[in-house]
Amino acid sequence: MREALIIKNRLPLIIVSAVIFAAAILIHSSIAWLGLVLFIASYLIAGGNVLYKAVRNILHGKVFDENFLMTIATIGALCIGKYTEAVAVMLFYQVGELFQSYAVAKSRKSISELMDIRPDHANVKRGENIITVDPSEVEIGETIIIKVGEKVPLDGEVIDGTSSIDTSALTGESVPREVSAGNEVLSGCINLNGVLTVKVIKGFEESTVSKILDLVENASSKKSKSENFITKFARVYTPIVVVIALALAVVPTLILPDAVFADWLYRALTFLVVSCPCALVISIPLSFFGGLGGASRRGILIKGSNYLEALAKTEIMVFDKTGTLTEGVFNVQKIHSVSITEDELLELATYAENFSTHPISMSLKRCYEKDIDSSQVENVKEIAGHGITADVKGRAVAVGNSKLMDELGVSHLSDEILGTTLHVAVDGEYAGYIIISDRLKSDATEAVTKLKSKHVKKIAMLTGDSEFVGTRIARQLSIDEVYAELLPADKVEKVEELMKQKSAKGVLTFVGDGINDAPVLARADIGVAMGGMGSDAAIEAADVVIMTDEPSKLVDAITISKRTLKIVYQNIAFALTVKLAVLILAALGVANMWEAIFADVGVTIIAILNSFRALWVGNSVNSELSSAVPSPESMEVG
C-alpha cells in the first residue's frame, strides 16, 4: 500500500526534524549561529520534499500550488528572521499531510475490508473428484462443496447437508440463518458449522457477491452537492487569499508613511499559511465515504454520496405495497368454484399461470403440489395489471382480476375481501375464484411511525390491488395516502403527481421490491429497491438497495444520512469560521503565524477526526432502533 509507505518514510524525517528543532530553540539564545544552522537543518529535513515539489510544480506554471505557497511563506519567514515560525509551519504542515495520508489509508482500508466478502475459491465436484477452482470457472448446474468456515462462492441451492450461515456481510444481520436441502444460499455468506453440498444456480458474474462488490466499488462516484460546492469554493479560495496576501505585502508600505515592510510581509506570509483549503476538501468526501461504509455494513447499499445526502431531505416517501410493506408471499386462502370442481379450478388456473414468475403463480403452484405438464399450455398471453389468458388442455382459460373479467365480458362475483381475488373464466364462462392473501411485514408499522418522526411529511402507498385492500392496509399502518388499482404505468404517473407536491428542496423517495417498478425507481428522486438482489433491472435502476426485507432499514438510512450531513456541515462551518477569523486577525496584525498553523493543520486534523465519526454512524444507529442488531465488527480508528 502506497500510503503506508509514505507514512513509513515521512515519520522518521518528521521526528528527526522535530528533535533538531527543539535543540535549535534551546541553543539559539546562547549560540546564535549554531541555532541558525540547526533551524535550517530541521527546516530542510522536514520540508525537503515540499521544496522539491514547489520547484517542479512552478516549472509547470502552477502558481497556486500548495507546495509553492508553503515554500514562499516559510522562506519569507526565514528571511525576516522568524526562524521558529518558519520551521514550525513546515513541520506542522508535514504532520498534517501525514495525518491526512493516514486517515485516507484507514478509510480506504475499511472499504477493502468490506471487499473481503469476495470468495477466492470454490470446491467443485467434477466426476468423482472434488477440485478447487476460481469461482468464475464454475458453471451453472455444477455441484460445489462448501466446508465449514468457507465463504459461499456462488449463489446456489442446498442439495445436501445442514448448517447455519452468517449473512452479516450481505445483510448486516448478525443472527445466523439455518439452511438445509432446498434452501437457497447467497454467495458472500460464511458457512459456519456444517458441510453443504450446493447446486450452483448463478454464474459468478451474476452472483450476489459480484453485484454487491460492483455496487460498492462504484459508489460515491456521484458527488454530493456539498462536495461540489467545496470543490468550487477551493478553486477560488486559494487565488483570493494569495492576491490579498500580495496586496498586504505591497500596498500598506506604499500608502502608510510609518509602515514597516517586514511587519506587513509577515502578515502576508501568515495569509499564505492559511491559503490551503485542504481541511475542507478532504474532510467532506471522507465523511460521505464513512457514511456510505456505515450504511453498507447495515445492509443498505447507497450508490453515491449525492443519494446519501438527499435521503435526509425526504419529504414524501412512497411505498409499493406488495413485497415492500407486505411479505409478498401469497398463500391460497380460499377456492370457490361455481361450475367445475375446486380441484379442477385450481388445476386450470395453475396451468395458465405456469410460465409466470409472479408471486401469485408461485402460490398457486405451492397449493397445487402436483407436477405440471407444460406441453398442455399454449398461447399464453400476459396482460399487465389484468392477468393471463391461455389455452389449457384445449380449453380457453382466463385468470386475473375483475378488470380482466370485465374486458372479457364475463360476469363475476364481487371481490370485497381482504386479499387478492383471482377470477377464473373457462371457455368464456365464469368458473369461480381463488383468494390469495399476503401478510404485512413485522416491522412495517414501526417503520412508518419512525419515518414520520424523522420529518417525512407524507407517506403514500401505491398498489395494483383493489381499493378495498389498499385502504385497509393503509389504515392499519397509518399511511397518509393510498392509490390503488394501478397498472405499472400508472405508478410512474402517480409518482410524478406526488413530486409536484413537494417543496423545491424536498425529495421524493420511492421504495419498491423491484418487480415491475424499475421505471418508477428511475423516475423518483431516490429509488430504493428492497429485498436484496431480486431483480437485476431494479438494482440497475435503484439508487439505494436494501439487502434485507425490512422496511425499517429506511429509518436507518435516513438516520445515517442525517448524521453524515451534520458532520459535513460541522466541518464546513468550523473550517471556514476558523480560517476566516485567522485571516482577519492576521490582516489586523493580531494573529501571528502560530494561529495560522492552527487554522491550517489544526483545523485539518480536527475536521478529519470529526469525519471519522461518520464511519461509526452505521453502528450508532443501533442504540436508536430496538429491532436492530449490533454490527459484527466495529470500525476502529487511531
Binding site: 502506497r2 500510503e3 509514505i6 517542479r56 509547470h60 502552477k62 500548495e66 491526512q100 495520508s101 485516507v104 478509510s107 480506504r108 472499504i111 466499488e217 462504484n218 460515491s220 462516484s221 456521484k222 458527488k223 470543490t231 477551493a234 478553486r235 490551503c276 483549503p277 485542504c278 476538501v281 478532504i282 468526501p285 471522507l286 460521505f288 465515504f289
Partner: protein, 84 residues
C-alpha cells in the same frame, strides 16, 4: 467497462481507471476539472476515496488516455494511471 446504449444510436463507452498514489483531495478535484476540459471527454469523475477515474467518452480511448496521462502528470507527477 460497460456500454451504455442510448436510443440505440449513440454508443458511449464508460471506462474506469485506478489512480495509484492519489493522496491529495484537492489534486483529485483539479484533475477531474482538467480531464473534463478535454474535448473528447463527455464526463469524467475522479473519486478521491476509491482513487478511481471514470471517463465517459466516444471515440478512441488509446489516444485519449495518453492525453489524460499528460494532464494528470502536470497536476500530480507521482500519480500513475492504470486499468481498473
Amino acid at each position: 467497462m460497460s456500454i451504455l446504449e442510448k436510443n440505440d444510436l449513440v454508443i458511449i463507452m464508460k471506462k474506469s481507471y485506478m489512480l495509484d498514489g492519489l493522496d491529495c483531495a484537492n489534486c483529485a478535484a483539479k484533475m477531474e476539472k482538467a480531464i473534463n476540459n478535454l474535448e473528447e471527454v463527455k464526463t469524467a469523475t475522479v473519486n478521491f476515496m476509491t482513487a478511481k477515474l471514470t471517463i465517459e467518452a466516444d471515440g478512441d480511448y488509446d489516444d485519449l488516455i495518453s492525453k489524460v496521462e499528460k494532464v494528470i502528470r502536470k497536476i500530480e507527477p507521482d500519480v500513475k494511471i492504470r486499468k481498473a
